[in-house]
């Protein structure tokens, strides 16, 4: 964003001081919030304010329940049923909160995106590494989103040649032609449909007593043990679908583009917590659904969205299958929208060009085009026939966790930078929890790597 050029129309505010370029839309969003805050408080204004303040947190966490995540949770439920992974989702929600809350503070205090801070604070050399990690992980993750869109559409009788290009066009439209507020509202509207998996789980008539007992340690039996390759790949994949590099870049830039300031951090935390509750509920619902319908599938790698849809149709009927297919398409669509935005923001910030969804496309082609091209590459790739979709999905989730520790280290360093953060610097306890998460990620992945290369290393 050019901070030298003042563009606020003098007719709008003759006495206003000159403003940095392209802040008009953000200013309007802030004025709207301000008007709601200063209005007479009743349930309507409180509701309107609450709704206005949600955005980055809900989007990042419901976008996190993407098509790849849906398949991963289904693979988990199919393999381990109502077991250890159900309560583990609450733990993963806590992990996601610890990680994502830091991006809220960083964005609100510095008013700069994640990529911008890495590039400016640590230089282009390390900046390139983080950007390449992000773009590679994003394109791979977007492939899993388009796989979900393709298979969900096919289950509803729609050709992949219709659903995939139409989704790509829609994602392009909302990012390029809508300004931040409208983009955020439309994305939130789509994201809410992520909750479609909750009634699906209810309709599968699970044994609620057994579900409740998993939270007190019942059914935590892991066939093959905690060091089996299947458990290790699933634990890595579940972590990978809960925290991923794109989420750091996305939420911080989203906080900046929404115009949130230090006084909005509490609201940002509530927004994030709401998103995490949604994420955990949906993840649990899919695991319960899969435990009811898919339990006992011999090879987890064979479980892909197509198989899940087929089994749901045979056990719960066409209506439930159609709902799951819609949920899968929605999950792919919302994740594609937010991941494409994260690429755009990161690239714009890294190369110090216009980097706001409030900027019209004619002024910011360099901001929009690379991200759209990356998404188009992913869309084209999933049209390749005979891809092993189930295993591809697991592999992509694991790769997300591989890139995560390096991304988290930059985040931690920035959060401990008193010159940038002032009083909002990380507490020692939060640092300790964050480092434990990073070490946990590395240990999980390393065990998976050893078990993959040496299948008998852990007695398997």
């Amino acid at each position: 964003m050019n901070t030298e050029v003042a563009t606020l129309d003098p007719k709008l505010c003759p006495d206003c001081p000159p403003l940095p370029e392209n802040l008009e839309q953000r200013l309007r969003d802030r004025l709207y919030l301000d008007a709601l805050r200063s209005a007479k408080q009743n349930w309507r204004t409180r509701l309107a304010l609450g709704l206005a303040l949600i955005g980055p947190g809900v989007l990042v966490m419901l976008g996190d329940n993407d098509a790849g995540g849906v398949v991963t949770y289904a693979q988990t439920g199919a393999t381990y049923g109502l077991g250890i992974f159900l309560p583990m989702m609450i733990l993963l929600g806590f992990v996601a909160y610890v990680v994502q809350e830091m991006t809220v503070r960083l964005g609100a205090v510095t008013r700069r995106g994640h990529a911008e801070l890495i590039w400016k604070r640590y230089g282009a050399f390390w900046g390139w590494f983080s950007l390449i990690d992000l773009v590679v992980a994003n394109v791979l993750t977007l492939m899993t989103e388009f796989i979900g869109i393709r298979l969900g559409g096919q289950a509803l009788g729609l050709s992949a040649w219709l659903t995939v290009p139409a989704s790509l066009l829609f994602i392009t439209y909302v990012l390029v032609f809508l300004r931040y507020w409208t983009w955020e509202r439309i994305s939130l509207f789509i994201a809410v449909f992520n909750l479609i998996f909750v009634p699906l789980a209810l309709f599968s008539h699970p044994n609620w007593h057994a579900v409740a007992q998993t939270f007190v340690g019942h059914g935590w039996i892991v066939p093959g043990g905690f060091l089996s390759l299947t458990f290790l790949i699933l634990i890595s994949a579940n972590i990978g679908t809960t925290i991923a590099p794109w989420q750091l870049f996305f939420q911080q830039s989203c906080v900046v583009d929404k115009g949130l300031l230090p006084q909005d951090i509490r609201a940002g935390r509530r927004d994030l917590m709401l998103g995490i509750i949604g994420m955990v509920l949906v993840a649990m619902a899919i695991i319960i659904l899969a435990a009811q319908t898919l339990k006992g599938v011999p090879n987890v790698q064979n479980v892909d969205a197509d198989m899940v849809l087929h089994v749901i149709r045979s056990k719960l009927g066409d209506g439930m299958m159609a709902l799951f297919a819609l949920g899968l398409m929605e999950a792919g669509l919302i994740a594609s929208i937010v991941i494409t935005a994260s690429s755009a923001w990161a690239i714009g910030e890294a190369f110090d060009i216009d980097r706001s969804i409030n900027t019209p496309p004619r002024k910011a082609i360099g901001f929009y085009l690379p991200a759209i091209l990356g998404t188009a590459v992913a869309a084209i790739a999933v049209m390749i026939p005979n891809l092993p979709l189930g295993f591809l999905n697991l592999s992509v989730q694991v790769i997300a966790t591989v890139f995560m520790p390096a991304a988290m280290l930059f985040l931690l360093m920035l959060l401990n930078d008193r010159e940038l953060m002032g009083d909002q610097v990380n507490s020692p306890r939060r640092n300790a929890v964050s480092i434990a998460i990073m070490v946990g990620l590395i240990v999980c992945n390393s065990l998976y790597g050893v078990a993959t290369l040496f299948p008998h290393a852990f007695g398997g």
Binding site: D9, C13, C16, R28, D29, L31, R121, D133, A406, L453
Partner: protein
């Protein structure tokens, strides 16, 4: 939502000044990583390369099998 021109100019000015939108962002100065920090980052780069190779190998191996 209202357009910017529908807001009272006095409200616009008050908000700009209260929230500091007219002030340019403070520049972010470059800092150099210490040797220890660089060692950790290079370690993580090696970890990323090795683990990515393992995942790709597993994918190709699993896909072929």
């Amino acid at each position: 939502m209202k357009h910017l021109h529908e807001f009272d100019p006095a409200d616009i000015r008050r908000l700009i000044e209260r929230e500091g939108w007219e002030k340019p962002l403070a520049p972010v100065q470059r800092v150099h990583l210490t040797t220890r920090q660089q060692a950790v980052f290079w370690g993580l780069r090696i970890y990323v390369v090795v683990m990515t190779a393992v995942v790709v190998w597993a994918f190709l191996h699993g896909a072929a099998g």
